[in-house]
């Protein structure tokens, strides 16, 4: 009775169909003899007689087949198949580069094509769908990606030297590390400063309604002003300050550089931080506070032992929003000379060097996702009374 | 007339309604009672096909409900739920006019019907027509809910614990109003509740359900006299059954014509239930009451012995 009603999982079928179409019809890789000359594009089945590409389609067909009659067992098998695909993909690239790159092209670059980007996207969606259907916890989802990362790493280090993104990284690995450090330092400084300032502001707002109205008004206003405009508007007064006061100029305050970037980041970070802190302090169940007072706790004890523990997850949510937002905004700050990963993005765009754009944009995306996942996991663990 | 023939409903592995057969006559108030999870709401919702039945057949005026288009079917059946389900973005008047508008009545006729219903349910048009649901009290909102269900003058009314969320006083007055409405409108009503007093007060036919099956059905008084098993007995109030029965019998059924004796000092309306007469006797420590009519004119008398001895005579 039950099994007779089992209907195909249309989501997985649609995703696999999209993946197969992309794999068949679109360009998978491009080959260029060096960094300057534009390359030729190849579809997956045009490479190595099509056998490696065929090997990649099999797991997708398996997933589609399993999705026809979904049950926990078949879905778990499908999950393993998708992971296998992700683990195999770098090795397909290894095969492709082996068959395409001639020994007389030492500078040859293999570019990743639309087809592969789409496949990666489709497979990640498939993983999300399978994780949801199987009810796996989020942390486990990240754990499952470890073998995938390991496979890519091994392939990159030993066999995928011609991959253009990797070549681009190798050419400027020092710069890359410095950019990541600067990026993280700016984000960290802005988040920490907004945490401290935000706490003070939130406490002041609880005392004085006037501060609350004015504060939220100003921060909302700031949040609405586009980042590029705010960076620009801060440039002029800071340049003036740096020119007027040598002491400020000595610590690096000038129109461009870290100072306007930091100030703007701080301004944007304050709104989510203050809002969450205020809510966290304000919206604790009044009955809980009343009973705490009733038991004879004083104000300090109530704040430290009741309000703060209950507020912690909401504050962490504020930190999460702020951090993710700051990672993106810091990229824009590269335009006013603050450094960071945005430098690669905008330099790359300026030189029409797409690999360089990717070298900046992909880590920014990765940082945002990792920060989001890590802080979410933390707040999940710290939720009072256990996970919901 | 509503007929259920061996109707079954399963949710996953659970059987919510198990081969249930029931016949609700035209103009009858049929009340389904039982503990929560006994399948009474499911049964109700299968009649207007908000839930589709898995087995058996449900007939409306002799035709299976599946033979109707489900939307057309529901527009022919009034439906009232506990939380009212009024649309919060519509005024009272617009909420009441919902089904007539779905049926594309002319605008003037809708307006006329809405005002008529508001009067019928004691909602002054000028005061309430433009109000929004959140501005109403629980009792007022439920009146609007009932008016909305009656708007297109359906033959059948399905009511799913309509008064369950109201305070006892409002609930009683709405029950009374529903009885008065029913006396004028003669709808076929299926009413679900877990409040036994409400069930006894409203039912022409009382249906006691347990685990998806009917344990016993019949006139309330018959169930009180002769419960099928301990479950029905405890549901009906156990030791309190005497008082519940007294609440179902009117003073006029037991009173004697005025005798030669002096009038008793305490008076009771002839339409009042025996339970009220008993309470009055207990309170004033008297054994005799004067029964009066609507104009407070003595029409008979009721003694404690008459009150108690009624069962046999």
């Amino acid at each position: 009775m039950e099994s007779g009603r089992r209907v195909p999982n249309r989501v997985l079928l649609a995703l696999m169909l999209a993946g197969l179409l992309a794999w068949l019809a679109l360009d998978a890789v491009s080959l260029a003899p060096n960094r300057i000359v534009p390359g030729n594009s190849y579809r997956a089945f045009e490479i190595g007689g099509g056998w490696p590409a065929l090997a990649m389609t099999l797991p997708m067909l398996v997933v589609a087949g399993l999705a026809w009659r979904p049950s926990p067992q078949t879905l778990r098998l499908a999950l393993w198949s998708v992971l296998a695909l992700l683990v195999l993909l770098p090795w397909w690239l290894v095969a492709a580069s082996a068959s395409l790159v001639e020994p007389e092209m030492p500078q040859a670059r293999i570019g990743i094509g639309v087809s592969i980007w789409l496949l990666l996207f489709v497979w990640l969606l498939t993983l999300i769908e399978l994780r949801t259907r199987l009810g796996l916890p989020r942390q486990l989802g990240w754990l499952l990606l470890l073998p995938v990362l390991a496979s890519w790493w091994v392939a990159l280090v030993w066999w995928l030297e011609p991959l253009s993104l990797y070549r681009e990284y190798q050419a400027r690995s020092d710069q890359f590390l410095a950019a990541v450090t600067t990026h993280l330092a700016l984000v960290g400084a802005a988040v920490l400063a907004s945490l401290v300032l935000g706490a003070l502001l939130a406490l002041a707002m609880r005392r004085h309604p006037g501060v609350r109205r004015a504060g939220f008004g100003l921060l909302n206003f700031l949040q609405t002003v586009p980042s590029l405009a705010l960076f620009g508007l801060l440039l002029a007064p800071l340049a003036w300050l740096g020119a007027r006061f040598d002491a400020l100029a000595a610590i690096g305050v000038s129109g461009i550089g870290w100072a306007p970037a930091f100030l703007a980041l701080l301004g944007y970070s304050l709104l989510p931080m203050v809002r969450n802190m205020y809510v966290a302090l304000e919206e604790v169940d009044p009955a809980v506070i009343e009973s705490a007072h009733g038991m004879g706790m004083n104000r300090r004890q109530v704040l430290l032992q009741v309000r703060l523990p209950l507020a912690l997850p909401i504050v962490l949510e504020g930190i999460r929003i702020t951090t993710v937002q700051a990672i993106g905004l810091t990229a824009v700050a590269a335009l006013i000379g603050a450094g960071g990963l945005g430098t690669f993005v905008f330099q790359g765009l300026g030189q029409a060097a797409m690999d360089m754009v990717l070298l900046g944009a992909l880590p920014i995306l990765g940082l945002a996702l990792v920060a989001d996942a890590a802080i979410s996991a933390l707040s999940e663990r710290l939720r009072p009374g256990g996970a919901a | 007339m509503i007929e259920l023939f061996g109707v079954t409903k399963r949710f996953g592995g659970e059987t919510a309604v198990d081969a249930l057969s029931l016949r609700v006559e035209k103009g009858e108030v049929c009340v389904l009672v039982g503990t929560s999870g006994c399948g009474k709401s499911t049964t109700l919702r299968m009649i207007n096909r908000l839930i589709e039945h898995d087995g058996g057949e449900i007939h409306l005026e002799g035709a299976p409900v599946r033979s109707f288009d489900e939307v057309t079917l529901r527009r022919r059946i009034g439906y009232v739920i506990q939380s009212t389900g009024l649309f919060p973005h519509w005024t009272v008047a617009r909420n009441i006019g919902l089904v007539p508008r779905l049926l594309k009545w002319p605008r003037a006729r809708i307006q006329e019907r809405v005002e008529e219903l508001m009067q019928l349910l004691g909602l002054p048009v000028r005061e309430f027509a433009g109000k929004y649901p959140r501005q109403l009290s629980g009792g007022q909102a439920q009146r609007v809910g009932v008016a909305r269900a009656l708007a297109a003058d359906p033959e059948i009314l399905l009511m799913d614990e309509p008064f369950g969320a109201l305070d006892p006083l409002t609930r009683q007055s709405l029950q009374k109003e529903l009885q008065e409405l029913q006396a004028r409108l003669h709808k076929t009503v299926v009413f679900v509740t877990h409040d036994m007093d409400e069930a006894l007060a409203l039912a022409d036919r009382l249906v006691v359900m347990r685990k998806g099956r009917i344990v016993q059905q019949g006139r309330p008084i018959d169930l009180l006299h002769d419960p099928a098993d301990e479950f029905v007995e405890s549901l009906l109030g156990g030791m309190d059954r005497g008082l519940k029965e007294a609440a179902l019998t009117r003073v006029s059924e037991r009173m004697l014509p005025l005798g030669p004796r002096l009038l008793a000092s305490e008076r009771i309306p002839y339409a009042a239930p025996l339970s009220q007469a008993l309470s009055l006797m207990l309170w004033h420590r008297v054994e005799r009451l004067t029964v009066v009519d609507d104009e407070d004119i003595p029409v008979g008398e009721l003694s404690l012995r008459r009150l108690l001895g009624g069962k046999t005579s």
């Binding site: 249309r10 980042s227 905004l329 335009l335 006013i336 | 739920i81």
Partner: protein, 253 residues
């Protein structure tokens, strides 16, 4: 009676007008600065005394403003249509299979920095206006989808039950009940989407689109603070004007 209604009507109109005051004021300032910027040469000369040219002249400010509004407008309209459409599709019985995936995607997607999305659009689609519109569209979809889903999800289940029980068809339920009730939340999503898009579009100047971001980028490259201030001022005013329109629309609900 009618006189009383008339005075109420007049008072209502007055509050109506007063509540549109803020958006109108921002719009007025925007138009004023866009048209009068060249007349402010004196002020900009003070900011940037050493440069030969202190007013950005490669394109008129009105042209830049128009292009900015056009790009954001096209992308936002498409995002609204696609976003609300897909959120509705996955909440209907026929599309419900896709609901978990779409709602997870919408929330994960919010993590993507807009500048990264813009940068990734270029390798895929090339330079110019089209990649910007596509990037803005894709990124702008997410808050709209998420808020539409939240709005539809927040509707009291009993209201839906009653609507179906009264014999509303799926379309009637959607148009007359679900969308009106979810409208404020959906509108808030559109507001977020448009605000982010105005900011991200300004970065489009770095990928070859011409809009209000141009003077800023040109100013940064040439070290001309006056250009930067001109661009920043107009973008800021545009963002505030649009935001105050949404503020006004949301407060009516």
């Amino acid at each position: 009676m009618s006189r009383q209604e008339l005075t109420i009507g007049a008072a209502g109109l007055q509050t109506q007008m007063r509540s549109w005051l803020a958006p109108l004021a921002w719009l007025f300032l925007l138009v004023l600065f866009a048209s009068g910027m060249p007349h402010l040469e004196g002020a900009f000369r003070w900011i940037e005394p050493d440069s030969r040219e202190v007013i950005y002249r490669r394109a008129g400010f009105f042209v830049l403003l128009g292009q900015h509004v056009l790009v954001v407008g096209v992308a936002s309209l498409l995002a609204v249509a696609l976003g609300i459409g897909s959120a509705i599709a996955v909440t209907r019985p026929a599309g419900r299979d896709f609901l978990p995936l779409v709602s997870q995607l919408a929330s994960i997607g919010q993590t993507f920095p807009p500048v990264a999305v813009l940068a990734l659009a270029v390798p895929a689609l090339g330079f110019g206006t089209l990649p910007i519109i596509v990037a803005l569209l894709l990124y702008g979809l997410l808050p709209i989808v998420r808020n539409t889903l939240t709005g539809l999800d927040g509707i009291d289940a009993d209201v839906r039950e009653a609507a179906r029980g009264m014999g509303m068809t799926g379309g009637q339920l959607l148009r007359q009940v679900e969308l009106p009730l979810a409208a404020p939340v959906i509108l808030a999503g559109i507001r977020t989407s448009v605000t982010v898009n105005i900011a991200t579009a300004a970065l489009g100047a770095t990928v070859g689109a011409s809009n209000l971001g141009d003077p800023i980028i040109a100013g940064i490259i040439n070290g001309n603070t006056a250009y930067i201030v001109q661009g920043a001022l107009l973008i800021g005013l545009l963002a505030l004007a649009v935001d105050s329109v949404f503020e006004r629309l949301l407060r009516r609900g």
